[in-house]
Symmetry: C2
Subunit: 429 residues, 2 copies
């Protein structure tokens, strides 16, 4: 008796969808040997059929409508690679689940917004939703967190999960170029989403963080509670000054459960230049998982691109072929708690950059204000005067955000401060 | 109807076993929430019962004999944490499988030697053997390779997987101490196995590499074919000279499938000091997985210790609790091919260190021999003479090992060479 094939319907034939077609086509024997059954693509769907994608579409049935694809009788797994939080992706995913199909998706936006409802629907139908490809491209981080570290209380999850932002920040540093210029470069290279705010505004990375946080802490996905700050305000001056002090600036996502609730933030942070996160160059992604028993696990790999993302999709497909059936976020949807959001106020050291007017006692006034707010200084550096002002860098010891805000407000009233101070959190990694 | 608990019998109550008891005890609710059923330890076994392990043993039935433990009617999963390739560990594992129990083990030696037979037995009985804890401690690398990267043809697996060796090598460099002295330090700190050759001879790391290679390439575990070289001959001088040239020396395992067969080697290698592998300090482990679609995935974490290793054991237990059932090495044992072993002869650049007598034309003779063997020089450095000899460092371009061996033999006959040249492979990472 030959084993039953697993039959896929693939919706969305962009880079990732094409990559999936390629792998299934080229690796039929390997996939069958590893999963114990043939993996077949029976039907595909995309916006346009007539486009040279470098892979033949003739072997597959064509559907114009992804909902029809998702509900075909001969499809076991609906592979959703269209993207978009709503619209056809969501409609087809819901239809697939209702028709008793498992779903594999790379759609972080859809899950960040509708994940709870979709997970509940999947469980009601006895189906699974898998989304390894939605977070950090080819890095098997969902698997590591949900399965490999399942014996741990997760204490913190961190990640550089938007390759475009990391490319822009590292390129600003290496080429000494301002943000606007590198942004245009990245745009010309096709690195940016149609809506660039998804990348540089931190939204895409925030979607990913909210999915990791749900698994890590057993909470409902709460993307709206992610404190988002993009990289648009990061200056080449801060990148250089931070480097002087031994730091790099990264768009870093951090999720941790605190006594006050769940803290989720995606914002530019300083990390030690010598740390694994600090050394991450270009489009590579890195996720750091911390558990109470396992300690710190660091995962690094390509965060995007045809091969890596298709690899992640296929990992999910292979799990389904092998009979692995897990809850979408690692626990039944009904048992995920509504997380109480906490303002990102965990005490941390901060990097402060300011310009002081060349007046006697200027630095003393700053130091006094910091002291009055209970903030102690780890390191301070004053640079040579530039006409009438002098740049000052301060690295504080760990301080509550509220104390820092108090100090920053007090500084605004000083007559020696030439422009509003810049404050960036330093994440201990 | 309340869900059926998963009942464990734990044999071996050293560091890891104690850690497993602690996790199951402290995290009952979390484990049940994530797996959908209670995880219970019903019975334990160890060499001595009366020893303060910091965890109570009263809640569990006691068995003096691990075979009896493994075959108890009330045990679903036999957790083998005794160690040793044969003896009680193997007997109890076989008995457990024969009695219809699943097995979770941290025993790399047993699987490296008897893995094929045990996997075949498990499959004949419809049981699974899981061994995440056997390789790289808390890093979920077996899972990443077997499941996450299942859509890839694996092209190379590399790893620093013996924390003790990495500790010794990094300590030699940072403290400027010779091997023998740091070895004694490590011994005094309890870092070494009872038989230190398991660590410093590369055997333990070689066991791990052979398990990864089996999964990666779909081949039978072939530990006997691993070319093993320990760290005992690494000198502080080579560590320093390598650092001068921008390299670090690591006990690196590499497995790759070549046109000539499967190459498995565990030997000191030079890696770029700035690479993730080069920057690995102390007891941390790192595994690098390379797939044709995913590219390079780097995993880093604690390679030993109670928490990390127990975390890996619990990851396997949780998978079994969740109903995940995979072949031991990612494919049915009967389908694993017997790998043809290939001598580790893949061309590579090499680091050469030698001492030349202070004679005119000495360097020319070396350069001539290299040229005659078809070896071209990437970088060369001659240090100041030390009495009558001068240290010479050469970094070659990529060259076949045979050509290098030919050149080394020719150099031995030269009257200008003060001591036999040292050659260390440089791994591109």
């Amino acid at each position: 008796m030959s084993p039953t094939p697993l039959r896929l319907g693939v919706a969305g034939l962009g880079t990732v969808g094409t990559g999936v077609l390629r792998i299934v086509r080229q690796k039929a024997n390997l996939l069958a040997a590893r999963s114990g059954r043939p993996i077949e693509i029976v039907a595909v769907s995309a916006r346009t059929r007539d486009k040279d994608r470098g892979v033949p579409l003739d072997p597959y049935a064509w559907e114009d409508d992804p909902v029809r694809l998702a509900t075909r009788d001969d499809v076991d797994v609906f592979v959703e690679l269209m993207g978009g939080s709503d619209g056809p992706a969501k409609a087809a995913t819901e239809a697939a689940l209702a028709a008793g199909k498992d779903v594999v998706t790379a759609n972080k936006a859809m899950l960040a917004i509708h994940g709870q409802a979709l997970a509940a629907q999947a469980e009601a139908e006895g189906r699974v939703i898998r989304f390894e490809a939605a977070v950090a491209g080819g890095i098997p981080v969902i698997k590591a967190l949900t399965e490999g570290l399942a014996g741990n209380e997760i204490t913190r999850v961190m990640g550089v999960m938007n390759g475009t932002c990391n490319y822009i920040l590292t390129r600003m540093e290496s080429a000494g170029l301002p943000y606007e210029e590198v942004f245009e470069e990245a745009n010309a290279l096709g690195y940016l989403e149609a809506d660039p705010q998804l990348d540089v505004g931190g939204i895409d990375a925030g979607h990913k963080l909210s999915l990791l946080a749900s698994i890590a802490f057993g909470t409902q996905v709460a993307f709206d509670d992610v404190e988002l700050e993009g990289i648009g305000d990061v200056t080449i001056e801060d990148i250089r000054r931070a480097a002087d002090m031994g730091f790099r600036i990264k768009l870093l996502g951090v999720a941790q459960m605190t006594g006050r609730g769940l803290e989720q933030r995606m914002a530019p942070c300083l990390v030690p230049a010598q740390s694994p996160l600090g050394q991450l160059e270009g489009g590579t992604n890195m996720v750091v998982l911390e558990g109470d028993h396992v300690g710190q696990i660091v995962l690094r790999g390509a965060g995007a691109g045809e091969g890596p993302t298709a690899s992640a999709v296929m990992g999910d497909v292979m799990d389904i072929a092998r009979g692995v059936r897990l809850s979408t976020f690692g626990q039944p949807a009904a048992e995920l708690a509504a997380a109480k959001p906490a303002k990102a106020a965990m005490p941390a050291p901060f990097y402060l950059r300011m310009k002081l007017l060349d007046k006697p006692g200027a630095l003393a006034k700053i130091a006094t204000i910091l002291g009055q707010s209970g903030i102690s200084i780890d390191r301070m550096r004053q640079y040579r005067h530039d006409d009438t002002t002098a740049p000052i860098l301060i690295v504080t010891h760990t301080t509550p955000r509220a104390a820092l805000d108090e100090a920053l407000t007090a500084m605004e009233g000083l007559d020696v401060v030439a422009e509003a101070p810049v404050a960036i959190r330093i994440e201990s990694v």
